[in-house]
């Protein structure tokens, strides 16, 4: 297994007390596999991403294990961690404008991690590699001499991807990497990511609020709510046939064009995710849930295999859901 989270918990200490952002997450990504993580702002998905490279602020208390190739990232010394960043795992953030240095040429920024991590590489060789990477992500090599402000949003996001690949990592984490982009540019970047995953056999953990994007790129998808994974399964299945009422609402928020059921009937969910300081009793989704039963107010459901449509009530090990209603094989949408 390339990446494994074992009972990961992250709690922020703040002025309002202890704020649990990730509350026990178990997940795994294999080499060459793509895992999507979906959820709304505040569900803990970005905290999960940051935890992998230990980029969390000092106020975060982290427990559990994050194994990269079997080695626990949380126990690593700083020297080893520095070596793992970029070469073992790298990350593409959402706002490329803020992640790139505005006063340094693109080529130099891509070459920098190569020079830092590979002592034997000469600056000229690193510059050549940077140009090759730019061409690989669909930009002319001459762009190496440009500054970030001379590029469009889509081009900057391509630069971020080139940079993430600079040291040939085994794992790439993309945190809302296409969110601010236009539909067509987003399609271009998603196509590029999918090609690179196949070509280089990297593992990809892709974080997005948009389940439809994840279903287009990822093999598997996990949906997070209030710091926990509430559903996991093959990405297309989770999108098209959700087995948790929250995933169903997320899917419905991005309608399928041409679907008569979605025409003139915007899907959605009233209310907001719960305040992490005051989580509701029982299932944390219950206050917004349309199909909740009595048990949901008393017990917190675990993530268990659930039956899916066509399986004649037999639980499918590939589909897990933390919903009592789904676990009974009942529909999760009204």
């Amino acid at each position: 297994m390339l990446l494994e989270f074992k009972d990961l918990r992250v709690t922020y200490r703040g002025s309002r007390g202890r704020l649990p952002a990730v509350r026990g997450v178990d997940l795994a990504v294999d080499a060459g596999e793509t895992l999507g993580i979906a959820g709304e702002s505040g569900c803990g998905k970005s905290t999960l991403a940051m935890a992998v490279l230990r980029l969390l602020p000092k106020s975060a208390e982290v427990s559990g294990e994050i194994l990269l190739d079997g080695e626990d990232l949380l126990q690593m010394g700083w020297g080893r961690l520095r070596a793992v960043r970029w070469t073992g795992a790298s990350i593409v953030f959402q706002g490329a404008m803020h992640s790139l240095n505005a006063v340094q040429r693109i080529g130099r920024q891509i070459a920098e991690p190569i020079l830092v991590h590979e002592a034997k590489t000469t600056p000229a060789a690193a510059a050549r590699r940077a140009e090759a990477l730019l061409e690989r992500v669909g930009l002319p090599a001459s762009r190496a001499r440009s500054y970030p402000h001379e590029l469009s949003g889509g081009q900057r996001q391509r630069v971020m991807i080139a940079m993430a690949l600079a040291c040939d990592p085994d794992l790439v984490i993309a945190d809302e990497a296409t969110t601010a982009l236009d539909v067509m540019v987003q399609a271009q970047v998603l196509q590029l990511i999918a090609e690179l995953v196949t070509e280089r056999g990297v593992g990809l953990m892709m974080i997005s609020h948009d389940l439809s994007v994840l279903s287009a790129v990822c093999d598997r998808a996990a949906v997070m709510y209030a710091g926990r994974i509430v559903e996991q399964g093959p990405a297309g299945e989770v999108f098209a046939n959700a087995r948790h009422p929250y995933s169903a609402a997320l899917s419905a928020a991005f309608p399928v064009i041409g679907d008569p059921a979605a025409r003139m009937s915007p899907g959605g969910l009233a209310g907001d995710p719960p305040d992490p300081v005051r989580l509701p009793e029982g299932c944390s989704f219950r206050p917004r849930c349309a199909v909740a039963v009595e048990r949901c107010g008393a017990e917190s459901p675990e993530l268990l295999a659930v039956p899916v449509r066509g399986s004649a009530g037999v639980a499918d090990a590939a589909r897990v859901s933390a919903c009592f209603v789904a676990q009974e094989g009942m529909p999760v949408v009204l």
Binding site: Q155, V185, A187, A252, F254, A262, D272
Partner: protein
Amino acid sequence: MSSEEKTLTARDLRVEFGLPGGRVARAVDGVDLDVAPGEIVALAGESGCGKTTLARTLLGLERATGGTVAFDGVPLRYSTRALKAYRRQVQLVLQDPTGALNPRHTVYDAVAEGLRIHKIHDDEPGRVAEALSRAGLRPPEQFFLAYPHELSGGQRQRVVIAGALVLQPSLLVADEPVASLDASVRGEILSLLLRLKEEQGLGALVITHDLGLAWSIADRIAIMYLGRIVEQGPVEQVLTAPRHPYTRALVSVLPAAPAVKAAVAEPIVLAGELPDASKIPGGCRFRPRCQEVASGNAAAVLHQCSGEDLHVLGPEAEPHLVACHLDRALHGDAKMAA
């Protein structure tokens, strides 16, 4: 069409901006559009296509350099007084509710601001309460003294909408009304716009980059590319059977139902990005990126694609209009419909 009551109309609208070096950006380059009460029109396109400039011009925030904007048959005038009167009828809803609300103003003050600007002093609390409840914040009195930070994202956007509704406009112009909201909250705001249309006959022009939004709430859709509307018509027709190569490409990269997938089989990922509005290609403006030109499908009409600008599409609600030489060759002359 244009004489219909309370309709917002644009005719051959053009907005140009001077750039350093004497270049001119043609942000809006000939647009005909109608928005009537009781209908939701989606104006869709990528960033830089001119959709926000078009919206600002329709609201009188930007002056047209050519063509006309009219409301209820009367051309827009730009005196302070005339604009003020106009904006009682046509209200703007902004994208980011957190930015649009003053954090130190209560909900009551935020909603009453429009009344105070327009010096409408009779029954202020009653009007504010009514606007809040039309925006779905009920009971309204409960929200009067709340501050924006005490509200959820969806509630904040409802307050912004209530601020627009308090003047009892006939039309809303909403620029990306849900783009900054979380997925699950989007539906709540879109349902509200739909309900305001159905129950109260409010019309809206919704500016968006999101075709799914149009499928959820709009009656008509206009697809904008580089300052022009390239395809326009009823949402069902434009989105399930798109005809302009640009619309076909946009629809092809989105999740779509099997019926639509049959019409647009393979995802068409266009190369490159939207050109600069100061460098609009001659002939058909979409030609340099057009997949039909690249594949040779348009060979028979290529001389037109590269040499002949297309007509500005008319504002008619029906039929489905397309600004494409190839489409015209295949479907007969689109001008006949106009």
